[in-house]
Amino acid sequence: VSDALSILIVDDDRMMAKTLQDILRVNGHRTEVAHSGPEALEKVGQHHLDCVLSDIRMPGISGVELVRAIMAERSDLLLILMTAYSADSLVEEGLEEGALAVLSKPLNISPLLAFFSSVPREHCVAIVDDDPQFCKTLGDILQAQGFQVVQITDPHGVAERVEEHAEIVILDVKFNGISGLDVLREIRELRPDLPVIVVTGHKDDLEITVQRATDIGAFASLLKPIAVEQLLDLLDQACRQELTRLWQRSVGSRHAIHAS
């Protein structure tokens, strides 16, 4: 069950900010409000936020510039823009800079609330490796980064367990006698959209493994020992992909325009 989110509402229209704040609060989310870009950046630094919901056109710093600034600091933050302009040149820019979506005003609140309630409070990563040491050390690192971690060392029923818990899977292709690629195939059958990062210790057959894993639908492939920065980057991308999927399920297009 997803927890309430901590959401920063940014709009120079105070009534817009207030009404949104009240709606989100009533729905159990924690909210902060800012009426300008600089104020928003200040709040991003002060509070532990999950999401920023910002108007795109504001005096001074625009929503797009705000997105750019936040992405540099907190790329894990969920960023959603709002616009009163249906054909806004800033819309595309905002999406390119890293906003998850751009909504038209007046907002269609219900799908937005549905999305927020589906957003996981923490991202759960399953590490599937028959080496307990590897699992533990990587698990500690990821936990420290704020991920919830499930370690799977038992080769049986991997796919089912992963499906139940994880949003992201880190999978060793040499897995206790079974081919990791078979496990990958099983996971994809159960959860076609679940991002799986394949790791291998054998540099020699890296290319073949990567090729096969990509063919089956792996999110990415890494060589042991894992470069943590690179892994975190991939996890970040995988999280965004997952959020986009959730968004599309709840709201629809990333650029939701009111049909006339």
Partner: protein, 516 residues
């Protein structure tokens, strides 16, 4: 003439076979007229010798005996005349052949003298007179020839008539203009020749001739005369009386062919008329262009205004929308009336948003993002988005093999949506909506027909104007947007309607082939 007044010797050739007569004449001439310079006589006793002398010498006068050993009678004169027509000839006759001499004078001899009845003075005078008369005769002849050639050279038809309207002169210009030769016309009444069969025309022409014969000139006037072959010819005609002394001798009529002039004048007239037309057309074009420009400017301003207002309204609408949402959440347990009112506000905010979106669609200047779209997909999509209300049956008619249209699917989808919703609204009591498609010269015509109330001819005119609406609710942008979008996609929009029977809106969309 002055040359002849000078004292000079007169060269005389005497052709006379009688030595006695020759002697007497020589005697007489030698005694006569010495003051003026006298005579130089050459004598030939045969015609042949005379002709030979004439051939080689310039002579002033010939004295000729008609009866010579080698020639007799008028023949003798004829031969001299044939050889030297310009030399005056005085015939010498005896008492017995005077009649013959008179005849020679009739044929061109200047004079005759009866031998034996001549004295010195008479002879000298006769010689002088003969020379002078011949000179005058020549002058008159030259003058006549000169006038004749003037007449001949004149480009106009010049005709002279006697007092009985009979043609006397018919120059080459007249031959060319009327097609009659001089021989055909001389001596005939002019008017029937050059007027048509129309009685009035003929009467007018002879009236004019009579007026001229009464002594009045007819100044040039434009009229029509007829050629020998009956074809009419435009002329300027003028007539003047010919007076010899105080006496009226006839009429001179001049006709100038003005066919070319008239043709040129008419061409000029036509051109000037055409010019007026062209100026008028151009003025109209300019006026239309001006109106079009004003209209476009108005629309552009309207577009800006619509866009601005639309955006400005979206923020307050957003707040109201949020507020209603909040109240609906927190007042979930409120009484029915409150909940009903909240729902009402919610619905109206939705309506207002729709209107604002219309304004923004109208103001939107996004260029068409054109691609090949199957027509069936466009139709299916619009019916999917706008399912028919109760009572409306939808019929689609389209041939299986329609080429895809080359348009912006979102923009044309919006157009189709507007047309379909309009059609539904035109049939509040229900009816049939027919969506049909057909190819039309590398284009596809897509029509949306309803069986609704139809459109009055008054409304038809302004149908596509922005802010023109017949609906109680609506701001009249739907069809203006449709027109803009269809035109932005290289198409056209048309409407046919019959009041009480229904309306058909057709949009013609280009295929890839037509667009390239």
């Amino acid at each position: 003439m002055s040359e002849n007044m000078k004292p000079s010797i007169i060269d005389v050739l005497l052709i006379e076979d009688s030595p006695d007569d020759a002697f007497f004449i020589r005697e007489m001439l030698s005694r006569a007229d010495e003051a003026r310079g006298g005579f130089r006589l050459t004598h030939a006793d045969r015609l042949s010798a005379g002709l030979a002398h004439l051939a080689e010498h310039s002579l002033d006068v010939v004295l000729l005996d008609l009866g010579l050993p080698d020639s007799h009678g008028l023949k003798t004169f004829g031969k001299i005349l044939a050889q030297a027509a310009s030399v005056p000839v005085i015939v010498l006759s005896g008492l017995d052949d005077e009649a013959l001499a008179v005849e020679a004078v009739g044929q061109g001899a200047q004079d005759y003298l009866v031998k034996g009845n001549v004295d010195s003075n008479l002879l000298a005078r006769a010689v002088h007179h003969a020379i002078e008369r011949k000179r005058l005769e020549k002058e008159v002849e030259e003058r006549r020839r000169y006038l004749e050639s003037v007449l001949a050279c004149a480009p106009d038809a010049i005709v002279t008539l006697d007092t009985n309207h009979r043609v006397l002169e018919w120059n080459r210009g007249a031959e060319a203009l009327f097609g009659y030769s001089a021989r055909e016309t001389i001596g005939r009444d002019l008017d029937p020749l050059v007027t048509g069969s129309d009685v009035d025309e003929r009467r007018e022409a002879s009236g004019l001739t009579r007026r001229v014969l009464a002594g009045r000139s007819i100044p040039p006037f434009e009229t029509v005369r007829y050629r020998k072959d009956g074809t009419p010819v435009d002329v300027v005609a003028a007539g003047s009386p010919i007076r010899v002394g105080d006496e009226l001798a006839g009429v001179v009529a001049v006709y100038t062919d003005i066919t070319e002039r008239k043709r040129a004048r008419e061409a000029l007239k036509r051109y000037s008329e055409r010019l007026e037309e062209m100026v008028e057309e151009r003025t109209k074009e300019l006026r239309d262009a001006q109106e079009q420009l004003v209209r476009r400017e108005k629309l552009a301003v309207l577009g800006q205004l619509a866009g601005g207002v639309g955006h400005e309204l979206r923020n307050p609408l957003g707040v109201i929308s949020n507020a209603v949402y909040f109240l609906q959440m927190t007042l979930a347990d409120a009484d029915e009336a409150t909940r009903e009112y909240l729902e009402l506000i919610h619905a109206e905010v939705h309506n207002a948003t729709r209107i604002v979106s219309g304004l923004l669609d109208y103001a939107r200047t996004r260029p068409a993002d054109r691609q090949e779209v199957p027509v069936a997909a466009l139709v299916a999509d619009v019916l999917d988005r706008h399912p028919p209300p109760e009572g409306v049956r939808v019929v689609t008619e389209a041939p299986a093999a329609l080429p895809p249209v080359f348009v912006d699917p979102a923009q044309i989808g919006l157009v189709q949506g507007n047309l379909v919703v309009n059609a539904y609204q035109a049939m509040p009591e229900g009816g049939i909506l027919t969506i049909s498609a057909q190819t039309e010269d590398r284009q596809v015509a897509l029509s949306v027909a309803d069986t609704g109330c139809g459109i009055s001819s008054e409304n038809m005119k302004r149908l596509f104007e922005p802010l023109y609406t017949t609906k109680a609710r609506g701001i009249g942008l739907g069809l203006a947007i449709c027109k803009n979008l269809v035109e932005a996609n290289g198409g056209r929009i048309r409407v046919q309607s019959r009041e009480g029977e229904g309306s058909t809106f057709s949009i013609t969309l280009p295929t890839m082939e037509a667009a390239s």
